[in-house]
């Protein structure tokens, strides 16, 4: 079946709503507007205003209310318009969702799912282009997902709702129009493993989310140069499946990490550290990272593109680790 990332997300919500009447969707403009990225278009008409709930413009309140509903046995899907706005709900996510199970001695699991758009590339300037999933991946108690394919857009929501712990799903804004074939019977996917999206032997390119497509493009460029790159999609940013990328690095002996977040103190730093801890003596070259420039994301289109990882910069880093620059 031909579909898009957006439609796959919508189908996942529809499926979850049909499977379990404890599931509902809540957020800004999710109802008659159909969501700011049109993910929930048509769901209000299908499920009604009790299950597709438009909220006031109060991020802390609707994330907090979602946590409260989850504590009380519901299975809420909270949509935060973008990760930028989630900063207003950070206290609820960190101090409540991620800690209540522990602080209640195991009495209160928080099975809430919080979806949000992340990433730059739409000329939304410095306050609306953040890639902060790495921050959330720092927090014990959360599961953090980054669907980068149609299968994961379709399949990650239901297992996330089944997870007794709070789950954050980051949808990169560049992916919504991604189109392709999805199996008619596509359904829930495994959340515990990273995926090898392109097998290769010369270098391991480790990435996730919106950077996956760019990395695959870079791998094609490298293939034309005679470099056979393996591309790994992390899929779950916390807890990390390190085994998959460590196994790959032990075979290729070279690694490049591609992460749209800022370099210092980032998810890419964590992955490089894991490789250093577990596979340092397997490496034939230092690990390289391709990240966003450590600046507020630029506004002008050409500057924004220049500040983000791109296929050319990814391929250049891979050539450097393979051929020594």
């Amino acid at each position: 079946m031909k579909t898009t990332y957006r439609e796959a997300l919508r189908e996942a919500i529809r499926d979850a709503m049909n499977r379990d009447d404890r599931v509902f969707l809540m957020g800004e403009d999710v109802g008659s507007y159909g969501g700011c990225y049109a993910v929930s278009l048509g769901l209000l008409e299908e499920f009604g205003p009790e299950r597709i709930r438009d909220t006031p413009l109060s991020e802390s309140a609707f994330v907090g209310a979602g946590i409260g509903a989850a504590l009380n046995g519901m299975r809420p899907i909270v949509e935060v318009m973008t990760v930028n706005f989630s900063l207003l709900a950070l206290d609820q996510i960190l101090n409540n969702a991620a800690t209540l199970l522990h602080m209640s001695g195991g009495q209160f699991p928080v099975p809430v799912v919080i979806r949000m758009t992340t990433g730059a590339g739409r000329q939304l300037a410095a306050q609306h282009s953040h890639s902060l999933e790495g921050w959330y991946a720092h927090i014990p108690g959360l599961r953090v997902l980054a669907p980068a394919t149609l299968e994961d857009a379709r399949g990650m929501l239901w297992p996330a709702l089944c997870d007794p712990d709070p789950v954050l799903i980051f949808e990169h804004n560049a992916l919504y129009n991604l189109s392709g074939e999805l199996a008619d019977d596509a359904g829930p996917v495994d959340l515990t493993r990273a995926a090898v999206r392109r097998p290769g032997t010369d270098v391991t390119l480790i990435t996730y989310g919106g950077s996956l497509a760019k990395t695959l493009t870079a791998a094609d460029e490298l293939a034309a140069d005679g470099i056979d790159a393996e591309v790994i999609d992390l899929r779950t940013l916390r807890p990390l499946d390190a085994d998959t990328f460590l196994e790959s690095v032990r075979r290729t002996h070279r690694a490049v990490v591609v992460d749209e977040g800022w370099r210092s103190g980032s998810l890419s730093a964590e992955i490089a550290a894991r490789i250093a801890e577990e596979a340092l003596y397997e490496l034939d070259a230092p690990v390289r990272r391709v990240c966003s420039a450590e600046v507020p994301i630029p506004y002008a289109k050409h500057l924004e593109e220049a500040a983000l990882p791109q296929p050319a910069s990814i391929a250049a880093a891979a050539r450097e680790v393979v051929r020594g620059g």
Partner: protein, 398 residues
């Protein structure tokens, strides 16, 4: 408001909210409609039909020249808005935030301010910018993506546009507290601050905290809420059970609802509120009851969530037409005046178009500018590496 029921259910006879999962047709239509009646407390001095009316608490002496000035302001800023909207449609701006329909709210409020007063805008305040003496061409870079706003906020007494919903309310509260701590409040020479935000922002925690702080520190701050009925797709009833101006009571300061499509009433009420503040009686909340005649931004399509007959209804309350009718009826303006304003608008539109298409792209090193106030070796290394990479392309900067 005599009984608690009336506080929680503005229409006492209305049926209780349905609980069926599937909405009825009536519920769907109700969700697509905003309020258009301002109610008995609406302060109005010029009706939509252009009739001058009086109000027991607020009135204003206006000369023909002053009213012609307000008319001119509104026509010109509407032209700026329409030109910029068209430039976005032609691909010359990344996005535009229309002010169509809110000209009176902004020109009335903006012209009530003195030069010494300070203003904190959101991102739709093109009319306020106009009254602060900011050339409309300076707004274009923000929406073309070439700069982040170029005016001097200290000189113009106009803070940069704030994109994050409601977060300027806290900054305005702090600024106004500073005016008070500095002793610049207390008599007719006092200063005041105005903070602009919308109906959707009133649901943000920041706005609540700003109300609390301004109240307990007696800050000379006029909270100016343009209730344009829609926060993207969400009507004001999704933000509040009560009319927004009534919220002020709970924080301990006055709240006034003014006809935001009436430039005279908005001017009168805002002048009063600023005077109260400069004498030390702030803060004050003004709810300017108006309507967003166009989309939330050029990325939005309002036909998805609201009815077109609502737009038709509000067209009859146009802020500019009523002034024109009054000017003509009073014989305060002739066709030569109106033609002159149109010619000025045409000229302004031409200037905007020309300026917009000639704006240079920012250079590559801009990416790394002003991240820190002073140098930073790590960032300088990243910058040098990046510029070296860019210079490797034919033709230098791409």
């Amino acid at each position: 408001m005599s009984s608690p029921e009336q506080w929680t259910h503005p229409e006492p006879d209305a049926a209780p909210a349905a609980t069926a999962a599937k909405p009825t047709a009536e519920q769907v239509i109700a969700g697509l409609r905003a309020t258009d009646e301002g109610g008995a407390d609406l302060v109005q001095l010029l009706t939509p039909e252009g009739e001058r009316v009086t109000h027991p608490d607020f009135d204003i002496d206006i000369t023909p020249e002053e009213l012609r000035g307000l008319y001119r302001d509104m026509v010109l800023i509407r032209r700026v808005d329409r030109e910029a909207n068209a430039l976005q449609r032609k691909g010359q701006l990344g996005i535009w935030v229309p002010l169509l329909g809110q000209e009176a709210a902004q020109i009335g409020a903006g012209r009530a301010m003195r030069e010494t007063d300070m203003a904190f805008p959101s991102y739709r305040e093109h009319g306020i910018a106009w009254t602060r003496g900011i050339n409309p061409t300076e707004l274009l870079g923000i929406f073309r993506g070439t700069d982040q706003g170029t005016w001097d906020p200290v000189e113009k007494r106009f803070h940069p546009y704030t994109i994050v919903i409601g977060n300027q309310v806290l900054n305005a509260a702090g600024y106004a507290m500073g005016q008070k701590f500095d002793g610049r409040v207390g008599d007719d020479e006092g200063e005041a601050t105005m903070c602009f935000f919308g109906d959707g922002a009133t649901s943000q925690g920041d706005v609540h905290e700003g109300f609390v702080w301004a109240a307990v520190y007696d800050a000379p701050l006029v909270f100016f809420c343009q209730n344009n009925q829609w926060a993207i797709s969400e009507p004001t009833e999704r933000q509040s059970r009560l009319p927004l101006y009534q919220r002020a009571r709970g924080y301990g300061f006055p709240g006034i609802r003014v006809d935001g499509n009436d430039v005279l009433a908005t001017l009168a009420v805002t002048k009063w509120a600023l005077d109260e503040c400069r004498h030390g009686n702030g803060p004050i909340l003004i709810e300017a009851f108006t309507y967003r005649m166009d989309a939330h931004t050029t990325s939005d399509d309002p036909t998805r969530y609201r009815l077109s007959d609502e737009l038709e209804m509000w067209k009859l309350k146009d802020p500019i037409e009523r002034v024109k009718v009054y000017l003509v009826r009073q014989q305060w303006a002739d066709s030569e005046f109106f033609d002159g304003v149109e010619a000025d608008a045409d000229k302004l539109g031409e200037e905007l178009r020309e300026f917009c298409t000639n704006m240079p792209d920012p250079p590559a090193e801009r990416i790394f500018s002003n991240v820190y106030a002073e140098g930073n070796p790590n960032l300088e290394a990243q910058r040098d590496e990046f510029l070296d990479y860019v210079s490797g392309f034919a033709g230098g900067e791409h």
